[in-house]
């Protein structure tokens, strides 16, 4: 039996905002939710210039490490108003997602992953999305045990660690250069 071939990707192009503006998209929880934080950062190109026409999407577990999804075999998430999903356009280069800090998530092989957020980045000039993860610099113990982070050289690991700010965390994404973010093939 021949399987159907997967449809090839294409760039979002410069006019993504027409189709992909989702009202309130940057809110994975309402802003007044107890414990709500902002994840922010700037997307930089290979010249070190901010990328003003990218889109960042985030997907993550809730503070208990559960997903609002039927394929989470442990059952549904229990945080009313929390969707786990955020979408932010980088006007002036900066993304901002209002969410809850995720809990630790089982790695499926008996261990726990450190709290993390999966990120898809789309932009003109990228023919497919690029994928990365946001981890949290103040989770040193969990990060040291994380199966993904442990697979990376120390200097590369730093590109994934968001640092605490007044209202949440900050992680810049570098598409190229010395500090090029670790991108993942999924």
């Amino acid at each position: 039996m021949t399987q159907p071939m997967t449809t090839p990707s294409a760039t979002v192009g410069p006019y993504l905002a027409i189709g992909l503006t989702w009202e309130g998209g940057e809110f994975a929880v309402p802003a007044d939710t107890p414990g709500a934080i902002w994840l922010r950062g700037t997307v930089f190109d290979g010249n070190g210039d901010p990328v003003p026409d990218a889109m960042v999407e985030t997907w993550q577990a809730d503070p208990d490490g559960r997903f609002d999804h039927p394929d989470d075999p442990r059952g549904a998430a229990r945080h009313p108003g929390f969707t786990g999903f955020g979408r932010s356009h980088t006007d002036s280069g900066e993304y901002a997602i209002c969410t809850l800090k995720p809990g630790r998530v089982p790695d499926g092989e008996g261990g726990l992953q450190a709290p993390h957020v999966d990120v898809s980045l789309f932009a003109r000039g990228l023919l497919d999305r690029v994928v990365t993860r946001i981890y949290f610099a103040d989770e040193a113990e969990a990060n040291a045990e994380d199966v993904v982070l442990r697979g990376l050289p120390e200097d590369r690991r730093q590109t994934l660690l968001a640092t605490p700010t007044d209202d949440g965390y900050r992680l810049d994404l570098h598409l190229q250069g010395d500090r090029e973010t670790v991108f993942f093939a999924v």
Partner: protein, 248 residues
């Protein structure tokens, strides 16, 4: 207190990885904008765990029937060749992907986008905003009515024109299945000079082109085009047989 239990093995669905030779590369030299944007390092393999095999299930509560008709907006009717675009969203196992959000956006019949940075001298259409949203039905089918988008020039190379296309965005049911792509129309004479089309490996280009569908063409109303979209399906393990109905 995390509420999670380490120690147990989770039996998770894993998603197939498309052969690199049939995937659009992130960067492509003839498409100039990739130069400073496409990452230069080799991406690190990320095995599929809970975060990757789940994903946002959006739309049901926000998409209305009117979102599937791009020809009736802002109190009037769009100019141009009215078309019906339809098809199925499947995974690479051939299974339909039901109840999934499909977002589309496009230029108007003259090839102009309703967007601040599109200012080439083609007219805007007061009754066309270029945005559509539909949910697939329980068979994975989608359909929307629009006008055929025009070709438009851009600055990539001398006399560069984008072939007519409609942008599509899909979620499927897992982070791994997320897809943003473009649908083309059959036999477009502009394919040869378009780096975005030609960045698709040759063996996969036909998958980005819709088919004229006389069956779905409605007399005295609209031309039909059919385009199926295939998202990544389950990874085939060596332990599974072709008809793996009751093989664990």
């Amino acid at each position: 207190m995390t509420g999670t239990t380490p120690g147990s093995r989770l039996d998770l669905r894993r998603y197939a990885r498309t052969d690199v030779a049939l995937r659009t590369p992130v960067g492509y030299a003839d498409y100039k904008s990739t130069g400073l944007r496409a990452p230069l390092r080799t991406p690190v393999d990320l095995p599929h765990r809970l975060t990757e095999v789940t994903g946002p299930l959006l739309g049901e509560d926000r998409v209305t029937a009117a979102d599937a008709d791009l020809t009736k907006r802002l109190g009037g009717e769009a100019q141009g060749q009215r078309i019906i675009v339809h098809g199925r969203v499947l995974d690479s196992d051939g299974r339909p992907v039901p109840n999934t959000l499909v977002e589309v956006w496009q230029a108007n019949a003259a090839g102009r986008y309703r967007h601040v940075v599109d200012n080439w001298p083609a007219p805007l259409d007061p009754h066309f905003d270029g945005l559509g949203r539909v949910m697939t039905d329980d068979q994975g089918r989608y359909e929307f009515t629009t006008v055929k988008p025009g070709a438009y020039p851009w600055g990539n190379h001398h006399n560069a024109w984008r072939p007519a296309h409609i942008h599509f965005s899909l979620f499927g049911r897992a982070f791994t299945q997320r897809l943003v792509t473009q649908m083309y129309f059959p036999d477009d004479p502009l394919f040869f000079q378009d780096p975005i089309f030609n960045s698709i490996p040759e063996g996969a280009r036909h998958l980005a082109i819709s088919r004229f569908d006389y069956e779905r063409t409605v007399p005295d109303w609209a031309l039909g085009f059919q385009w199926d979209i295939v998202l990544r399906g389950a990874e085939q393990t060596p332990f599974e047989t072709e008809d793996d109905g009751d093989v664990a």
